[in-house]
């Protein structure tokens, strides 16, 4: 059962890996053809032979004059945009500017490993280069504009489902491929031909796409919840590139299907044809080994184009559904996580207390603190007025710099906290409490932006816990996500605490300080296994609480019961949490209490 031209798949049944590899190969060719106009490609892949093989193939496919640059992780703005060349500046006694990576990579391909850890500033600069094809430099006394036409290969090595590159970047990259779960045996389909790519590049100039096809792409994007027009424009380019690869000058439905599948589907935030989103059977953050369960028999990916009467849009949607069978939901869910989480600062480093990292915030003078970086330009500036008095002669390379001239970069320490609300959404009082919590979350967010803090919300009810609001700083997003918060059912406190801890660990790994705020009004009555029963539930809750204490995450427990419950106090003690009984809490009081308590807890 050969999928219409989509590569040979043999034996027991086409499996996920081979399908992914076919897509990866096709995407590599399309990338090579259209690299100038599509921003780049988002590659989900951890290091390994598959990834290396794919990168090598892309290198072979692109025209020879295109150079690849590697973007070092955690690159500073002066290396990215350009800055003072230390050695040359000191030897010549005048500031010598050195080009940054973005200017040097002009006309080439920029490979960004660990894109999920890329910091905000780098992302914005890349985004601007992609948008304007140039960079504007206003730093270290230099004012300049440099061309920077790039294609980016953003390699996403995220291990956790909630990690992914910021959406500010992903929105600008046309293609997405997933190399996870591909084994060497899957890598059957071979390489496109560099000659074909070169032909296609020439042909693409004239490849045309008609209005009906553009409209189909546009409305498919809308029905998938993609509001930005950028992906749609990219999809139209990919459709033309695909036509050109097939030696055609006119885009056909086939090209539209490929474009929608490779460009739009991975960015979908909702799925149009599915009438009922499948109830997540497992509401705790998805397990990483999910892909193992997805080896069911896939549908035949052949596209049924016989019924011409249907609008192109429907034909395309059907074809996409057929081509990405069981993978779809999991895929969507993970891209959902990306869409929701997007724009977050994925910066690395847990060493926030250090004085040598973080966002630059001006300079300071004075004695050197070990490990601090000197700001050469500011130091030279400080010394410049004194050269004559000191008998220096900069023109002759004789510069007198004294200790008092030293200027050091000052960095703003990131002490941003992420407040994780763990809310008991069980039982009859849930609705009231949830309304309060929603209000409190929004109130907290309303002044969070001053401190650049984040808030997140996990609700537990029934048999499990569910992430309602991934960590965010955006009031807007919080409102969207909190709109339909369900309530009722049992009290699986242990699951709630486990989820909170997992999230807190993730938050920590991004260099933020997590604070867990548990709000409950009574005892746990559902254990970790989802079974009812107070005693086991209490044991599980206690052990989950101890785990939180063991990892040193600060926590607060707010008891909202009418009469403070001894069991809640016990859990708070196990957790090392601050225990605050707050019967009849309203949104304002919850917010105020949390504000004060968090401030106290976070002080280190």
């Amino acid at each position: 059962m050969d999928g219409a031209g989509d590569g040979a798949v043999d034996g027991v049944g086409a499996d996920l890996g081979a399908g992914r590899w076919d897509d990866a190969m096709l995407s590599a060719s399309l990338f090579a053809v259209a690299s100038n106009d599509i921003g780049g490609i988002h590659v989900r892949a951890r290091p390994g032979p598959v990834r290396n093989a794919w990168l090598d193939l892309v290198r072979d496919l692109v025209p020879e004059n295109i150079t690849f640059y590697r973007l070092p992780l955690g690159i500073t703005a002066d290396r990215l945009l350009g800055g003072i060349d230390l050695a040359a500046t000191l030897s010549q006694g005048r500031p010598i500017f050195e080009q940054g990576v973005l200017a040097r990579a002009d006309g080439g391909v920029l490979v960004a490993p660990m894109a999920e850890r890329m910091n905000e500033e780098t992302v914005s600069n890349l985004a601007r280069a992609l948008d304007t094809q140039q960079i504007v430099i206003e730093r270290d006394g230099v004012s300049d504009t440099a061309a920077s036409r790039l294609a980016i290969i953003a390699i996403d090595e995220a291990a956790e489902p909630d990690e992914c590159p910021p959406s500010m970047l992903l929105d600008r990259l046309a293609l997405t491929i997933d190399l996870e779960g591909i084994s060497i045996h899957d890598m059957v389909s071979g390489l496109g031909d560099p000659g074909d790519v070169a032909d296609a590049i020439r042909r693409m100039e004239n490849a045309s796409i008609n209005d009906e096809e553009l409209e189909a792409l546009s409305s498919i994007a809308l029905s998938m919840g993609i509001h930005s027009l950028r992906p749609v424009i990219h999809a139209s380019v990919i459709a033309r590139a695909h036509a050109a690869l097939a030696s055609r000058d006119i885009v056909e439905p086939d090209d539209i299907i490929v474009a929608a599948r490779l460009v739009l589907a991975p960015k979908a935030t909702m799925w149009p044809s599915a009438p009922q989103e499948e109830e997540p059977q497992d509401a705790t953050p998805p397990e990483p080994e999910q892909s193992d369960q997805e080896n069911d028999e896939p549908d035949d990916p052949s596209k049924d184009l016989s019924d011409i009467d249907k609008p192109l849009e429907d034909v395309v949607l059907e074809a996409i559904v057929a081509a990405m069978p069981d993978d779809v939901l999991a895929h969507l869910r993970s891209s959902n996580a990306g869409a929701i989480r997007g724009g977050r600062d994925g910066r690395a480093g847990a060493t926030q207390v250090s004085k040598t990292r973080g966002r630059p915030a001006g300079t300071r003078r004075g004695a050197r603190i070990h490990g601090q970086r000197m700001n050469i330009l500011e130091t030279l500036r400080a010394s410049a007025p004194w050269q004559r008095l000191r008998g220096g002669d900069p023109a002759a390379g004789n510069l007198k710099v004294l200790a008092e001239d030293f200027r050091f970069n000052r960095y703003k320490n990131k002490t941003e906290t992420t407040t994780i609300f763990v809310v008991d959404a069980s039982g009859s009082s849930a609705l009231n409490r949830l309304a309060e919590i929603k209000g409190a979350v929004e109130l907290l967010l309303a002044d969070c932006y001053v401190r650049r803090d984040e808030v997140s919300l996990i609700a537990f009810r029934g048999t499990s816990a569910e992430m309602i609001l991934p960590p965010t700083r955006s009031l807007l997003r919080a409102k969207k996500e909190l709109a339909g918060l369900p309530g009722g059912g049992g009290t699986p406190l242990a699951s709630g605490l486990d989820s909170a801890l997992a999230l807190a660990e993730g938050v920590k790994s991004k260099g933020r300080t997590p604070v867990i705020v548990v709000m409950t009004d009574g005892g746990a009555n559902v254990g970790r296994d989802g079974q009812g029963g107070r005693s086991q539930a209490a044991v599980d809750a206690a052990s989950a609480a101890r785990m939180i204490r063991a990892t040193g995450v600060s926590s607060i427990l707010i008891d909202t019961a009418k009469r403070p419950h001894p069991q809640s106090k016990d859990v708070a003690d196990e957790m090392g949490a601050l225990y605050i009984p707050l019967p009849r809490a309203d949104a304002k009081r919850v917010a105020d209490t949390v504000n004060v308590a968090v401030a106290e807890r976070v002080q280190i």
Partner: protein
């Protein structure tokens, strides 16, 4: 230097275009904030503004864009002791792009280190704030800008003057500019102090109408293939808009605003609970500019209707528990009061 997308070729986004034209017409309006989702053409719109602005007269050898008719008494160039006054020249109104990652020395200006080292001279090298004087200063991703730079910009924008005290230099110069900021609210909120400083604010979103979406894509594609030909094709339309702005600038002073309209503006601001007088003053200026752009001699209710959302939406006291968007609240109040 890459040409920017022509302003008149932007499909839809009428409110953003209007707000930018109002600011071009009356630079005293206090800046424009453009907030919206990804891929809605925010920065395209602002960067396109540059090609639309009329020219202005500056003193030829003044790096602070002094007006020959009205030389600033503090201008370091024009008031230098041994200086020949330069010939006046016409330049286009500057739109200075403040890149994320700009350093403080380039923003405010600093000691010219080369001259200091080579000649022992203490000379000030002006920064972006000097370049932006009498023009526009654009900050993309304004909500991501370093806090210390934001504070600095706020201070300068409010006082119209840049005061530099560093490296033994003591310099002050005019820095009057229209602050234009854009950003995506999903990336993070803007500090309220900053929000309030902007005269006008616009929310942009992606058009949903299929024909419009296709038109956007077609034009974008055409521009990407051959930018200069595309700009050439839209030159006349941009020229017409420029003419409209120049005409409105001249007519602005003569636009009448009746007491009745003034009362309505007050009532509107009270109904919306906007803090202080700033809302009312901005409403007045905005309505005038809208009337001038429309070629009207009097401000009418229609102009107030158009002005209210852009001038007031970001001044409402934040009520996190009210789910209605601020635009809707402004519209409701406008309907009630303007009838």
């Amino acid at each position: 230097m890459r040409v920017s997308y022509p302003f008149s070729a932007i499909v839809g986004q009428d409110e953003m275009k209007l707000a930018l034209m109002i600011a071009a017409c009356d630079p005293g309006i206090g800046g424009v904030l453009v907030f919206g989702d990804r891929g809605t053409g925010k920065s395209t719109g602002v960067r396109a503004l540059a090609s639309l602005l009329p020219t202005m007269n500056v003193v030829g050898n003044c790096r602070y864009n002094c007006d020959p008719e009205n030389v600033s008494p503090t201008c370091p160039d024009c008031n230098a002791p041994d200086r020949e006054p330069g010939k006046a020249k016409k330049v286009s109104v500057p739109v200075v792009d403040l890149p994320l990652g700009a350093t403080e020395d380039r923003v405010v200006g600093a000691l010219d280190i080369e001259r200091a080292l080579a000649h022992g001279e203490k000379v000030f090298e002006p920064g972006l704030l000097a370049q932006a004087n009498r023009g526009f200063l654009y900050i993309d991703e304004v909500n991501l800008l370093e806090d210390h730079l934001v504070d600095l910009l706020l201070d300068v924008a409010a006082s119209g003057e840049n005061i530099v005290e560093r490296e033994g230099l003591s310099i002050r110069h005019n820095a009057r500019f229209v602050l234009v900021g854009s950003g995506n609210p999903e990336e993070g909120e803007l500090r309220p102090q900053l929000l309030d400083r902007f005269g006008l604010s616009v929310d942009v979103s992606t058009p949903k109408e299929p024909k419009q979406r296709i038109e956007i894509m077609r034009r974008r594609d055409e521009f990407d293939r051959d930018p200069s030909a595309f700009v050439q094709a839209w030159k006349r339309k941009d020229g017409a808009l420029r003419g409209k702005i120049t005409k409105a600038q001249n007519a602005l002073g003569a636009v009448e605003l009746s007491d009745e309209m003034l009362e309505m503006i007050s009532a509107l601001c009270i109904a919306l609970g906007t803090d202080g007088l700033r809302g009312e003053l901005t409403m007045i200026r905005t309505a005038r500019a809208i009337a001038a752009l429309a070629g009207a001699s009097d401000v009418t209710k229609k102009h107030l209707y158009t002005a209210a959302p852009v001038a007031l939406r970001h001044r409402l006291r934040r009520d996190p528990l009210d789910d209605a968007g601020s635009a809707i609240r402004v519209e409701r109040a406008a309907q009630e009061i303007l009838g």
